[in-house]
Structures are given as structure tokens and as C-alpha cells.
């Protein structure tokens, strides 16, 4: 059984005028189907306005379905009685780290979540230690978040979610505001959580390079899943991705261009090593 299962999921934003009359209805999710197994690292791609953030907000019950069902760890997200349990199961990390950090000391920020749900004090401190260590930020526990870099702040935000001991973390463009180093740090932290703690990861991103190591990829457009598969399968379809306003990693694009220039290369080359090996074979084969 999947940890997250969307069946025919529909979400409509209803736009009302000043008197409260319905002015227009915008369908953000249009009969979407998706299934995530526990422990998977999932990437969700899609252009701005494709519905991926709307979907993400359903997973921790910030939004509820207009039609269809969404099951999170066996709980129906449409049932309001499940809201709190769902939010403890699925934690969310947003784009801007500055909007998510509230305390003036790192360790207090991480302890805020568990304190709010009434975890005993001793256990709060254990959770703070475990979470900060899992993202490599333990030595900054007494720092002020203001003095941290973007990547460090984002890792503190992830630790704050980890302290709630969720089974699943949804990250909505967590690296959009970070420099190359910050992006690397955050991605490495998320992969460690997935590998070592078995946390299910749902990563929403516009950076194709970040998708290469995911287990499975969903591509959304107009509120629907339009492509799904492993990264290699998805990135072999350069033209289809571009139709959905997306891209492929730079190395994949280069391989595609070389292929078009007549070199016998396979589809969906993802890494530099793969490409060099393939080029070497071409030359030696002559």
C-alpha cells in the first residue's frame, strides 16, 4: 500500500467578487492519479502554474480535495478529523527559508514543532539533537538563524520538520533562492534523510540536475500527470519535456545535440561519466 495515493484528485479555486458571488472557477488539479511507496525519493516537475504546489499542499492538508480522494498513510485527507495526524505524517518545506524560521536561536526553532504538540521536554531535546545532526547543523545549534547562509537556513527548516518525526517530507522548490553551494548542501541533506532514516521524499523543483538521483519522476501539466517514470526514461524525451515548458540536465541536452549531429548515442544519458564512456566507445569502435 502506498504512503500517498491520489485517485481522480480534483481541486478548484473559486474566485469570488466583492459580494461573494462566484466570478470564475479555476481548475488547478484535474483528475490527478499518483501513488508513492514508503521510502521512495520522488521528484515532481512542472512549469509555473502546472498545479504541483497545489498538489503538495494537499499532502499535508493545507488544501482539501474538491473531488476525488487523497490518502496519506491510510488516512483520508478529506476527513477533517485526520488533519492533525496528516500534518504529523507529512511535513512541508517551502521555498523561502526566511518565512519559515521564527525563533532567535537555531535549536529553539527546531524544538518549536514538537513543543507545540506536547512532546515531553527531555524528548524534545533528544529530537532537536537527532534532527540537527541529520542535516549536519548540530554545531550551529546556538547560533542565530539570521547569521546563517541560505543553504544553512533551509537545512534548519528541514530539521524543524524532522523534529516532528514525519514519515514523509514534501519540499516545494527548496533550492530556488540558493547559490550553487547552498543547493548542493540541501540536496545532500535530503538524500541522507531518505537513505538513512527511510523518510519518503517528495521534491518539487525546476532544476533538472536535482532530479537525476530520484527513484521516480512525475511531470505535471494543467493539473494532470502527463509523464511518469525513472529519470532516465523521462529525460530521454527531450522534445516532449520542452513542450511542457521544461528542460533536461545540461549533459543530457548535450548528448541529445550530439545525437542529432549524427553520433550513435543512446537516449537519456544522465551523467558526465556515461557520456565520456559512450564517446570513447564510438572512437575505439572505428
Amino acid at each position: 500500500m502506498g504512503i500517498i495515493e491520489a485517485k481522480n484528485l480534483v481541486h478548484e479555486y473559486i474566485i469570488r467578487d466583492e459580494e461573494g458571488n462566484v466570478e470564475s472557477i479555476q481548475t488547478a488539479l484535474d483528475h490527478m492519479d499518483l501513488k508513492v511507496e514508503p521510502g521512495q525519493f520522488i521528484a515532481v516537475l512542472g512549469h509555473n502554474g502546472s498545479g504541483k504546489s497545489t498538489f503538495a499542499k494537499h499532502i499535508n492538508a493545507l488544501l482539501t480535495p474538491t473531488e476525488g480522494t487523497l490518502i496519506v498513510d491510510g488516512m483520508d485527507a478529506s476527513d477533517e478529523d485526520n488533519t492533525y495526524a496528516i500534518r504529523q505524517t507529512a511535513g512541508m518545506v517551502f521555498q523561502n527559508p526566511d518565512n519559515q524560521i521564527i525563533a532567535s536561536v537555531v535549536q529553539e526553532d527546531v524544538g518549536f514543532g514538537p513543543e507545540n504538540i506536547g512532546v515531553p521536554t527531555d524528548e524534545i531535546w533528544e529530537r532537536v539533537e537527532r534532527s540537527l545532526k541529520s542535516v549536519g547543523m548540530w554545531k550551529y545549534r546556538e547560533h542565530s538563524p539570521n547569521k546563517l547562509s541560505g543553504g544553512q537556513k533551509q537545512r534548519v527548516a528541514i530539521a524543524g520538520v524532522m523534529a516532528m518525526e514525519p514519515k514523509c517530507i514534501i519540499l516545494d522548490e527548496p533550492t530556488a533562492m540558493l547559490d550553487p553551494d547552498g543547493r548542493k548542501e540541501v540536496l545532500a541533506a535530503v538524500h541522507t534523510l531518505n537513505r538513512e532514516k527511510g523518510v519518503t521524499i517528495i521534491l518539487i523543483t525546476h532544476y533538472m540536475e536535482e532530479v537525476v538521483d530520484a527513484d521516480y519522476v512525475y511531470v505535471m501539466d494543467q493539473g494532470k500527470v502527463v509523464m511518469e517514470g525513472n529519470p532516465r526514461g523521462i529525460f530521454s524525451q527531450v522534445d516532449t519535456l520542452q513542450e511542457h515548458r521544461l528542460d533536461v540536465p545540461q549533459i543530457t541536452l548535450l548528448a541529445h545535440e550530439l545525437q542529432r549531429a549524427g553520433l550513435p548515442l543512446a537516449d537519456g544519458i544522465l551523467t558526465r561519466e556515461e557520456l565520456i564512456d559512450a564517446l570513447e566507445r564510438i572512437v575505439k569502435g572505428r
Binding site: G46, H47, N48, G49, S50, Q95, S149, G150, E173, A176, M177, L178, D179, P180, D181, G182, H206, M208, E209, Q242, R245, L246, D247, P249, Q250, I251, L253, L254, E257, L258, A261, L263, R272, E273, L275, I276, L279, E280, I282, V283, R286
Partner: protein, 284 residues
């Protein structure tokens, strides 16, 4: 010559316990019509640097000349500098505020004191040049999509016809197509109007693809200042300061390390493709 920076230093909170040097004796020249990329990790001083160019920050030490005039001279009109040096901040759509897209774009030229007819013409021209369809002119800017909002915000700066356009990460948060559209637009306008463009970016791939010259900032110093090919040759040093080279540059260097004698200068996909095809051709 658009700008000369002569030993410019800037210290935040000078004289307090929190004093921090953000720019340290930076000397630079920027010629009219250049397309420059500024890269550096968070806190390297790149935002501080560009905020000096339109007088938002005043250097603690040193001098800045714009078109031959000292901008810190007491008779110098900073208003004039700010109309000539247009700045598009990060997430510029957060600065949209008017009732309609058209009114929002009119705000800048109106503030410059232009007659109403000119204001209207400029707003039309700017909105056309960013490719926003006419049907959106009279809608609230808040009803636009993310990419459209950003175009509207950029149009607001373009309507002032700045001779120098500075953009601080104009594509953060946009999808790949939106990113290409905005950068293509900036590059086209650069060719068309010959204005000076300074692009601050975290994407090495974008910088390599569009600019003619890269300024690398680190700890308030200019670490490298050269054409992309030369700057990205220093990829190891760039990594040490939290940056990187484009993926294709790594590829070329790794090929050479494996004994494949390919030209390592490529910084874009097209250049890498040509270099690899040439190398393959040489193997015959």
C-alpha cells in the same frame, strides 16, 4: 565609459560591534554596451556592489564615476543617476502595486516628469517589448501568472529607458521555459538598444550562455574579471568559494583527464557539441 569604480569600500554598521566589510577596495571599469555577469556566493558582496551603481548605498571610501561625473559630488543629481541606471530586484513582482498592469508600468516614466503622452507611449513600448499580450494591459497585475508578473515588473523598469540595466537574479523561481524567455528577452534588448546590462545570477549555465564578461566576487573582493571561458578555467578555485562551472566545462576537463584530447574552452552546450564533433573528426 559607463562606470569607473576607484578603490570602493563599504562597511556595514561602521563603528559598532557588528561592523562588517562588504566591499574591500574594489576597482572596476564598465564600458558602455557591455553585457556583464556578476557571480558570487551569498554574502560575497555582489548585491552590495550593484546597489552602489545606482546610489542606493554610498561607499564608505573610494569614488564612483558615471559617464565621467563623480556621483558623490555634492552638485551631482542622484535622481538623474537612478533614472539612467534601472534596477530589477529579486522577485520584482513583489513591487507591483497599481490597479492595472498598464498603470503600474506608467509609474516610473511618470515619476521622471515626462508628459502624459510620452508616458503612455513608453508604457506601450515596454509592455510590447517584454511580450505581454494587449489583453493583459487593463487587468490587475495580481491576476497574472508568475512569469507574466515578472515581465510586467521588468517592463516597469524598461519604460524609464535606462542606459544601464541591472538585474538581480531575474529568473529565480521561474520554470525552465520562463527562465529562457526572460533571459532571451534581455539579450535581444541588449542587441537592439545597445544598453549596458549587468546580470547577477546563481546559475553558471545561464551566465555562460549570455554574458561577454564575468565578475566573480568573494569576500568583498573581485576574484576574477574576464571572459566566461577564462573564468571557468578556474573551476577548482570557483568551487572553493562556493561556486561552480557549467556542467559541460567539467565534462571537457574530465575528457582531457581521461586522455581524450578535446579542447577545454567550452562553457555552453553549443560550444561543447562543436568541440566534441571536432575531436571525433580528428580521430580519423
Amino acid at each position: 565609459m559607463a562606470f569607473i569604480l576607484d578603490k570602493v569600500s563599504y562597511r556595514y554598521s561602521e563603528g559598532t560591534a557588528y561592523e562588517m566589510t562588504a566591499l574591500d577596495q574594489v576597482s572596476l571599469q564598465i564600458q558602455d554596451g557591455e553585457f556583464i555577469g556578476v557571480i558570487g556566493h551569498t554574502g560575497s558582496g555582489k548585491s552590495t556592489l550593484i546597489q552602489h551603481l545606482n546610489g542606493l548605498l554610498k561607499a564608505t571610501e573610494g569614488a564612483i564615476y558615471f559617464n565621467g561625473q563623480d556621483i558623490y559630488d555634492k552638485d551631482y543629481d542622484l535622481r538623474d543617476l537612478r533614472t539612467q541606471v534601472g534596477m530589477v530586484f529579486q522577485y520584482p513582482e513583489h513591487q507591483l502595486f497599481e490597479e492595472t498592469v498598464f498603470k503600474d508600468v506608467c509609474f516610473g516614466p511618470k515619476n521622471q516628469g515626462l508628459p502624459e503622452k510620452d508616458v503612455t507611449l513608453r508604457a506601450y513600448e515596454a509592455l510590447r517589448s517584454v511580450g505581454l499580450p494587449d489583453k493583459y494591459f487593463d487587468v490587475s497585475p495580481f491576476e497574472l501568472s508568475g512569469g507574466q508578473k515578472r515581465r510586467a515588473a521588468i517592463a516597469g523598469v524598461l519604460a524609464m529607458k535606462p542606459s544601464v540595466l541591472i538585474l538581480d537574479e531575474p529568473t529565480a523561481g521561474l520554470d525552465p521555459r520562463g527562465r529562457d524567455e526572460i533571459l532571451d528577452l534581455i539579450a535581444e534588448m541588449h542587441v537592439h538598444y545597445g544598453n549596458t546590462v549587468i546580470l547577477v545570477s546563481h546559475s553558471m549555465e545561464d551566465v555562460a550562455k549570455y554574458v561577454d564578461r564575468i565578475i566573480v566576487m568573494d569576500h568583498g573582493h573581485v576574484m576574477f574579471d574576464d571572459v566566461p571561458r577564462e573564468v571557468f578555467h578556474h573551476y577548482r578555485e570557483l568551487e572553493e568559494i562556493g561556486l561552480a562551472a557549467p556542467q559541460v566545462t567539467y565534462l571537457m576537463h574530465e575528457m582531457q583527464e581521461r586522455g581524450l584530447d578535446v579542447n577545454c574552452d567550452a562553457t555552453t552546450v553549443d560550444e561543447a557539441r562543436d568541440a566534441i564533433l571536432q575531436w571525433i573528426g580528428n580521430q580519423r
